[in-house]
Symmetry: C7
């Protein structure tokens, strides 16, 4: 968990960790790598303070650390922290979140 | 209905489910798949809280869950929730809604 | 007239019905289809509530249902309602209106 | 003159009628059509109410009906009213006006 | 001088008259036309009232009639008034002015 | 340290010094130059006063001298000060910072 | 020095004079012209009054006459005043300044 506390995204950037692709179907059949889709679900691990609007006020981001989000298929910046892959997305580019 | 409650679009995004294409004409003739047009009518299944304007105020979206809407021919992002296809559109890209 | 009451354009969109091309000249000569120009005159059949400006206020559209308008040569989105062709234009793209 | 009263441009659009090209020089020599320049002088025949700024206020156009204006070489939209050619320009695209 | 009083540029446009290229060097040697640079110095002959900002206030132009200005190498619109060449520039495109 | 005090970036620019690439792995194996990734970590050595927003207020930059930051893979301007390489980035382009 | 007082840049433009390239290295070796880098250091010789923001207020430029600045590698407009080369840059394009 240390990595998350050590890196602070700037402005409205959100650091996420993609869920690992499930390589076994519900029925227990192993999937070859090709048929596995790109994983678009991720967990928020760090958030920036928010963007600054034209009035100089900070607009907080709309997701919180620990929330499960749906990422767009393209975009985002890969960031390697302590030899692990993370991705930075702008708050406004995250499609939605999963709520209970 | 659970899927709709579990996924919350962010900002001014609207989650819709396209109506199924009618493959039988009014007169009862089955249509081959080619002659079926792209279905542009959809039902709103979830809406984001709205976009944030330059003053920092949230501008709610203009459609509600359950409303029937007309989608533009292009655009939108396919989202798979519980193995079912949905589409995300920006509120401002939805052309209109059907009212009674 | 039911179609017009059932479909509500969103934001500053205006639903229009193009006038039918006159295929007979003033002098009574039938025109072959090629020499008929694109019909740019239309009747407004439904209007959206207006666009939302940066202050969050709604700016009503500048035309009313029933008014005759002049459309730009390009642009607009074809919409089929009850098997009849209509077109959606942004309020700001309509060139002008005919007044008595 | 009826045409001018019957057509109302929307927003900051200005309807103009181009001056007819002079095909005879000051010295009385007839010019072949090729050597005649594009006529950029026009008379304002109808004006829109003005554009709406971000505060929702209408900004009136800067020319009046009857004024002689200088048009840019490119741009403008041809409009045919009662079988006569007119042109629509945005107020901001008109270069200047001739004053006495 | 009549031309200047008769033409009024609109918005933030500035009408200038380019200085004539000096075809004789300081030392008195005649320059062939090729080696003469494009003349970028001009005299302001008419100015528009200024542009309208988002608040609806007019922002006057920054040069006055009679001032000597430095033009950018490209841009500007040639305007022929009483068979003489003038150029229209946006106030913001004029590089600077010569002051005594 | 003198270089940092002598150069002042303007507006929201941030002067950084990239960390030197580690050419030896944790296990002590020397890496050939090709396999070394581009170093994206840097130390802030000077910051501008901030950008000026539409209200005329200065918006300070979000990083401080001495902070460790993560740079985007592309962009930035190389600046040579006293024969040493530095890079200028816009505050908004810096991805995040490392905090203890 | 007369040139500086006679030319006044408009808006947020800054007139600079590039430092002359040193063609002799510290060790006294003459450099052929090719190996000399483009000189990016310059002295401010005249500044405009500043740009006008959306509220109509003038935003003064961030450099003063006599200050040493670092120019971007590309951009700027060459201006010849009294047979000497100067360059005009927008205030916002100047990278930074050297302070004592």
């Amino acid at each position: 968990m240390m990595a998350f506390r050590k890196f602070l995204p700037l402005f409205d950037r959100v650091l996420v960790e993609r869920l690992t692709a499930e390589t076994v179907t519900k029925g227990g059949i192993m999937l070859p790598e090709k048929s596995q889709g790109k994983v678009l679900q991720a967990t928020v691990v760090a958030v920036g303070p928010g963007s600054v609007n034209q009035k100089g006020h900070v607009q907080p981001v709309s997701v919180k650390v620990g929330e499960k989000v749906l990422l767009p298929e393209y975009g985002g910046t890969k960031v390697i922290l302590e030899e692990k892959d993370y991705f930075l997305f702008r708050d406004g580019d995250i499609l939605g979140k999963y709520v209970d």
